[in-house]
Symmetry: C2
Subunit: 301 residues, 2 copies
Amino acid sequence: MELYHLRTFVAVAEEKHLTRAAERLFTSQPAISAHIKALEETLGVTLFDRTPKGMRLTRVGEELLPRARQALAAASAVMQHAKGLQDELIGSVRIGLNTDARFLRLTALQAALSANFPRLEVSMLTGSTGTNVPAVRVGKLDGAFVTGEIDDPTLSVCYLCDEPLIVAAPTAFREQITSTDVAALARLPWVFTSPDCSHYRAMRVLFEAHCCEPVRTLIANQEDALVEMIRAGVGLGIVRKGALPADDPLAYELPVALAPAPLQFVHLKKRDNDPVIRAVVQALCAVWDIGTPQDQVREAG
Amino acid sequence: MELYHLRTFVAVAEEKHLTRAAERLFTSQPAISAHIKALEETLGVTLFDRTPKGMRLTRVGEELLPRARQALAAASAVMQHAKGLQDELIGSVRIGLNTDARFLRLTALQAALSANFPRLEVSMLTGSTGTNVPAVRVGKLDGAFVTGEIDDPTLSVCYLCDEPLIVAAPTAFREQITSTDVAALARLPWVFTSPDCSHYRAMRVLFEAHCCEPVRTLIANQEDALVEMIRAGVGLGIVRKGALPADDPLAYELPVALAPAPLQFVHLKKRDNDPVIRAVVQALCAVWDIGTPQDQVREAG
DNA sequence: ACGCGCCATCACAATTTCCGAAGACGCGAA
DNA sequence: TTCGCGTCTTCGGAAATTGTGATGGCGCGT
């Protein structure tokens, strides 16, 4: 028994004629006849009395008709519900973070997403550029914030802004620091970031340009931890300019030129057309006030 | 969208593998794949995430699954209900009567029918042999009691018993009746039945055998009316033996030999295998204590 | 008696569905 | 890394189902 049997059953019961039911269902009268016959055979009952004036429901048919309608309505409800769902974005998205929430404008992102896609569940998961990239690659994250150049052909990258980086020094070091010559600074203790972190790369670029290697004092991979270490006098470090207040009494910025690091959002390139990804990218573009996603998403490498 | 799409959808959702779902549904795996693909296309949504380990329900799929189950259950309810109905006799049957209820053992017939077929609606409609036969022929009655030979190839006849017929005379006529010679009796007034009635034929047979024609005084086509006329002294008449009490003070039986009239039940021959007809015939056989229906139903003519 | 409308049946065509094989892909073990 | 395994998808052709138009039977009304 299939739905078309029931559709035909109901149509014939309502029209009381195979001919009219056939017209209503845009098919031929023999087809309708066959449907009814097949249905009667599989159900093992007679649904209609055949009269010269048409088809009249049997008592059994009368009992079965409302149930057939109910089955059709249930099937229709599936279609209906699907129709309602097909444009709505439903599902979950896991976004990896690589620095603090405020800098990433997460509240605005969340607001934009929940306004446009109220049924999308968003998970913001802390991490770092170094951990986020492989997580996106293996599907543990749907997308992630990263800093610095990404060189992976399987990823799509969406540029958001440039993060200015600075060399920060503890106020306690002020008298030891006689010049901002990099080679001289390299002899002082430095707070490292883990190789995961994008700042690590900036640091390597800086010192490799001057052919020197700083003393590795401590490793921190969380920006606020890094800043705290610097302020506590553990050593110098590279941080986002925004992470260090201008009037901080315990640390200050050294006038060393550092290339800014680009803040970006990455996701698997093969999911470029995934509606969830498009939704997130669209929200990001609104939050960061950049153009249409198409203009901004470019291939990595 | 057809039911098999939903069946496959539910099976795949439960088995989480096209392969296993295919086994469960006794079909091939590409067929299952096509079902899901077609369903997703018609619904306009993605129901499953394809993973190397199998199929995982999408959030949308999860929302749709219970509704799909509901539709299948509703369809199954139609089947179930039909199964329950297919052996039960449902409908109505109209039976024509040709004489009084007690003689036809109607209470016993009704009891037998309602015991075996509680959902069968039985209508007992008064009439006469002459009106019943055409009513059965055109379908106004499903079956009827008739008396006398029926000569219609479209009807099936079920013999029930012989009705003894008698010539009844008013007690007031006793002195006028000097002999039981039919020709002499024919000169007295007679209460006729209508030509519809089976007794009419008996009367014609009687008088034609003696080449005489009685005086037609009155016509009654209801047996109790007939008896009342006779008892009132209107004339002689032919009645069922049981319709005239042996000790009736107003009428008595004349010793005239009359062939008994067979009481029978007739129905359209083409409905021999109609379950409703079979049910009625079966009940009649039980009530009249005759053999199986097959043995008793014989062709008319 | 005839035409009309209804449904059932038939043979054949159109469509759909199904199947087996081959391909793509990710995963895990060697 | 490479191979084998299991998964789903796709493909072409076969099989089954469904649909079509013509035909016939039947009852009814003109």
